[in-house]
Symmetry: D2
Subunit: 232 residues, 4 copies
Amino acid sequence: MSYVERLMKTLNEEMDYIAENGKLELLMTPGFVDKRLYAIYMTETYHYTKHNARNQAIVATRQEDMNPGYMRFCLNHAREEVGHELMALKDIQKLGFDVSEQTLPRPLVSTQALIAYLYYISHNENPVGRLGYSFWAERVYQFIRPLLGLMETGLKIPKSAMTFFNEHSDIDAKHAEEVDEAISRYVTNEEDYKIVEEIMLNSLKLTFEMTNEVIAEFQKVKDSKETRYYYL
Amino acid sequence: MSYVERLMKTLNEEMDYIAENGKLELLMTPGFVDKRLYAIYMTETYHYTKHNARNQAIVATRQEDMNPGYMRFCLNHAREEVGHELMALKDIQKLGFDVSEQTLPRPLVSTQALIAYLYYISHNENPVGRLGYSFWAERVYQFIRPLLGLMETGLKIPKSAMTFFNEHSDIDAKHAEEVDEAISRYVTNEEDYKIVEEIMLNSLKLTFEMTNEVIAEFQKVKDSKETRYYYL
Amino acid sequence: MSYVERLMKTLNEEMDYIAENGKLELLMTPGFVDKRLYAIYMTETYHYTKHNARNQAIVATRQEDMNPGYMRFCLNHAREEVGHELMALKDIQKLGFDVSEQTLPRPLVSTQALIAYLYYISHNENPVGRLGYSFWAERVYQFIRPLLGLMETGLKIPKSAMTFFNEHSDIDAKHAEEVDEAISRYVTNEEDYKIVEEIMLNSLKLTFEMTNEVIAEFQKVKDSKETRYYYL
Amino acid sequence: MSYVERLMKTLNEEMDYIAENGKLELLMTPGFVDKRLYAIYMTETYHYTKHNARNQAIVATRQEDMNPGYMRFCLNHAREEVGHELMALKDIQKLGFDVSEQTLPRPLVSTQALIAYLYYISHNENPVGRLGYSFWAERVYQFIRPLLGLMETGLKIPKSAMTFFNEHSDIDAKHAEEVDEAISRYVTNEEDYKIVEEIMLNSLKLTFEMTNEVIAEFQKVKDSKETRYYYL
């Protein structure tokens, strides 16, 4: 099996595990079909997305010798991520919520952990490692497409408030291909592979934690408890 | 109420919440009185402790103007944390497990998230913020003393394999006082306070996540599943 | 005057000053028409060029809010700089000198100062500041074209050993235009301008220091003194 | 010869070279016995001194495994450097010049190069390397004592405006001893030694460049040209 195939196998297993053990099915239940849940999720998405171009670029600033092709991949990829957080913000605003970059609540602890982790590995781990995050992040939309459909039909969220997801679904195939190609080229031994796989699983778990905390926050909103999402 | 008193109140509430909702009582049940659990916990402790002096020192390297007294506090405190991870390692070895700095398994994802978070806030948040981590970390031993007693009597772990905990219990009172004094001096407005409180709660939650993952890993060991703790 | 025009005026004045006060005319004198001088210069060029993509990318990793267009400019520009140091190395090899990335001597103190300065300002100064370096670096080739002509005719250096210079002359016009456009867009007030101008002058002075040290090292080679350039 | 002895030999040779080739004797000539020159020098001293605790602490934040004793040395040494720039500022103020931390002019290019270099090597070179800077910086006062005497008698600068120098002369002997001891302990092979020696020479040269630029700036002041030292 190629490294890409091995990653795919591990990713599918993890996704199955998450599907079985996560609270995601909760999202399909009546009380959770709520645009406030979507707004909370987009708020946290705004936060971590804001750092994706930055932590991707950091890999290309490492002092060690790196394959020039890999450096170019990182910088190119970083450039394409610039400003994507603004789509998430616009989607929240389109739903009618009155927030701006200046007034958004601070990120949840799980969102901060995800952001911090991606900086940490970009600075400190084997430079090819971050490909493990891109590997799943660029193809996650195929896993969540049923959810997107639900949101559109169930939540009646208009397409104009789903630019973040739709945009990413569109550039999905292209990016996923580029990441696969980068893995084929720059992951050259078992040691490289191991860290790519670890970072894939770890960043997926931390994102899953974030999703769980988003759901818990929404539960608080439903229970009329105080939350940071003052604008809901 | 002073800032220290407010932090204390918030910390106690959080600790009560954790006591009620965590799996810590699990630790008191027969099957969990096991030195392998202790070794797993010490392995993760080794990992995050190794970074404590470093992330504490980073605060004093920030480019903005800082109170010289606070810089000295950070550097002094960092110096006192140097090498403490070696106590955790020695404790594992004293239990009879054959590991070294070179052969310890990599940290769990929750441990990495804690480490990464502390670097991130030390680099990027209000410099006084890290006091929030010290505030609870320096007095946590009073909360876990019952657990330590249990380990000594129940697990029959000799004092010689508990240097990390015993040492930290001893320097506890002194450090906690210094941290309180630093908070009194350098946390000078509500904005400062808010970030100190946030970092206290966030770092506590991430440590709690780590404890939960440690317990889950131990459960795997008990179930004879494969884990990274090959030396148990 | 626009900011670009003001920078151009200041740059021309500084270049006149350097032309009058520098030792560059020395380069036109018989004893200095020597391919060993060129090899020393290319060695130092290799070193600082290796960091240009990295320090340019660092600007786009800054935590503060930045104009997304400027972030994209930085990442795009960084990507185009990747691997250019290899041209300098190849040019040295083409002259017949037996060196590789692993065996090149360490950079001179003035080269290290230039490298360190560019990292420092990329990390710490106003993010638009680095445009001041690009402003002169992208158009320097028009100033040194007479020198290039001299090298080709006087030193009989073949075109195949001048890829670094020729390549940069070619992409010159395009890059200089892009930098001018970036200055027009992202330098929006006098405070921005002042730091761009300072970094233009400082990086030019440090490069000039490097040139002087290169000449001093070549003088040592001519005097048969020991130097780090063992391969000459 | 021990590593300390070898460094001492190299330092003495370099100091002789500087004494012969520098413009320092200029300082002894009538027109240069001027408290404005002292104020310019102290301004630049303020700037680089402000970063000494920070770049020293950075060494102890490096991710690689380091000798715990060396980490403690770095943090201890950093702590002792905190706030020393305030002595330089106070000395300028004591001379009657109306400046504050907020209104001091920006550092000269040579001062910035020195600052940037020390950060760069603290982040990137062999961690023991920075001992090369401490080695000469902690004992420089014995070299400049004649100059200090001249300032006191010739410039009639009161002791109250020489706290920076006097303080550093006093802690000199103690620090130099500690640095020698650190070199004996933590510089353990030729590779370590080479980088310590390089950083000693490079930081000395960059400081010498700064002194030269200070003198050139003072010459401008004497010639009634415009300078950044508006308060003179």
